[in-house]
């Protein structure tokens, strides 16, 4: 293959004059990490609420939560992103819609991607939380109630602490997924990592170096996250409780 490998391309100043190509990659990395972490926080909060709602005795709340999960799980992430970015501003009241469209484009992209990723992942987190709660022995809820706890107290002190510990492994999966899914934001122009890969291909004649570097960065993110979650799993392990399974 007559390809000119040139790994020093990263240290070269970019054609647009804004920093080196390496700095472009790092910028992309920064946006990927920022977007993913923020979306994860949203996903955890909303997902926990929805997951809990699917386990409470109230039928209507349960139905509402189930509808949320079904809607966000049966529409492709890309379609959801485009709906948040293109459709929602049109459906909001005039003032809010215009306000959004007047924001800095980067902000528009980021906010749309953030909300999209957050709500999408929340549906998956909700299912994990639900299955975690349902995997607990029924007696635990009864023991809490028998002590005089109200149902919210039972969830807060008895069910959720154990449910969360049980679902650390699948939640780790979702955490990793959100970083991977963040790449979808490239389609609305957000300068996250995979977009920077494409930018590098456009501006340099070194597509392989660019892609390899970006792939390595994604792998690095993976490794870092797996390490982090393993620490979390160790810390929350309950002595005597067989692997939390």
């Amino acid at each position: 293959m007559a390809y000119n490998w040139n790994w020093e391309i990263f240290l070269q100043p970019s054609a647009t004059g804004e920093g080196t190509y390496l700095s472009w990659l790092l910028e992309g990395l920064k946006w990927t990490v920022t977007l993913s972490l923020s979306a994860w926080v949203i996903a955890l909060i909303i997902g926990s609420i929805i997951g809990v709602l699917r386990t409470v005795p109230n039928r209507w709340l349960g139905l509402l939560a189930a509808t949320y999960v079904e809607v966000f799980r049966n529409i492709p992430l890309l379609v959801q992103l485009f709906i948040w970015y293109f459709v929602l501003p049109e459906l909001l009241p005039r003032g809010m819609g215009d306000g959004f469209k007047q924001m800095n484009p980067l902000a528009q992209q980021f906010v749309s991607a953030l909300v999209c990723l957050g709500f999408f992942t929340a549906a998956r987190v909700a299912e994990q939380v639900r299955s975690g709660i349902n995997s607990l022995p029924r007696g635990q809820k009864n023991a809490g109630l028998a002590m005089g706890f109200t149902l919210p107290q039972v969830y807060r002190h008895v069910l959720l602490p154990m449910a969360y510990r049980i679902i650390v492994p699948p939640l780790t999966s979702e955490f990793l997924n959100i970083f991977k899914n963040s790449a979808v934001a490239t389609t609305i122009g957000l300068i996250e990592l995979s977009r920077q890969a494409q930018q590098l291909v456009d501006f340099t004649a070194q597509p392989y170096e660019a892609f390899i570097a970006v792939t390595l960065l994604y792998l690095l993110i993976n490794v870092a996250l797996m390490f982090l979650m393993r620490q979390v799993e160790q810390k929350v392990r309950v002595p005597g409780f067989i692997g939390g399974k």
């Binding site: 109630l145 028998a146 002590m147 005089g148 109200t150 008895v158 005597g240």
Partner: protein, 242 residues
């Protein structure tokens, strides 16, 4: 103290409790026995409202369980329950298991709750385990802690749902001893159990249930001496062979 009036319960089409009527007076110890599926666990779970029932009512110290306006949480704060599978909270140390109810439900201070908890822990002989997690204790130890946890709430009566059925034989006695002590101190107790030795020792009355009905409800001496129903006789003869 506990007044069960004509309680019936259905799971869908299937009737699990049929017109159960009985009562437990203050200071009385009542043992509920019967074959599996007889509804005895269900009945005792109705007493503190953990299981709803469709007909009849249960009055616990003046409070009606069936009344939708009753604040069940407040009632349960004063009724202790011990479960077949102990149901200690695995993510909390023993001390926290003992104090969490006192602090969050009875609004006691941390120090007060801890003092009470440790005192009860000592009473059941487990003071050394205070800082361990439930998973590190044996079944018998966990159940004794569970009893202490219920007692820490200063209950007006105690409900036991097959407290020794999940224990290995050699641990049954350590739990029964605690329950015997409790009975001797005058606690009002309603126990679902197969342990007839325990019944003979401390029960005032024995109730025999079969297929959701209370078939026999007699003073201990009468029950063990000459049970009236054939079912009860059959059951006793099978059980007492051990």
């Amino acid at each position: 103290m506990i007044d069960i009036r004509n309680v019936s319960k259905w799971y869908g089409q299937f009737q699990v409790l049929a017109e159960c009527t009985t009562s437990v007076r203050e200071g009385e110890v009542v043992v509920v026995c019967g074959p599996s599926g007889s509804g005895k666990s269900t009945l005792i779970k109705c007493v503190n409202g953990l299981e709803p029932f469709q007909q009849g009512d249960i009055i616990v110290k003046g409070t009606s369980i069936g009344d939708p306006k009753t604040n069940l949480s407040r009632l349960r704060a004063h009724v202790g329950m011990v479960f077949q599978n102990f149901e200690l909270f695995p993510h909390m140390r023993i001390t926290e298991n003992l104090t969490i109810g006192q602090i969050k439900v009875l609004n006691r201070s941390k120090d007060e709750a801890l003092e009470k908890g440790l005192g009860l822990l000592d009473r059941v002989g487990l003071k050394a385990q205070a800082n361990k997690f439930p998973g590190e204790l044996s079944g018998g130890q966990q159940q004794r802690v569970a009893i202490a946890r219920a007692l820490a709430m200063d209950p007006i009566c105690m409900l036991f749902d097959e407290p020794t059925s999940a224990l290995d034989p050699e641990m049954i006695n350590e739990v029964l001893d605690v329950m015997v002590e409790l009975a001797k101190e005058g606690m009002t107790m309603m126990c679902v159990t197969h342990e007839m030795g325990f019944a003979r020792k401390v029960a005032n009355r024995v109730i025999f249930m079969d297929q959701g009905r209370i078939v026999e409800d007699a003073k201990k001496e009468d029950f063990f001496g000459t049970p009236r129903s054939e079912r009860a006789q059959q059951f006793l003869s099978k059980i007492l062979q051990h």
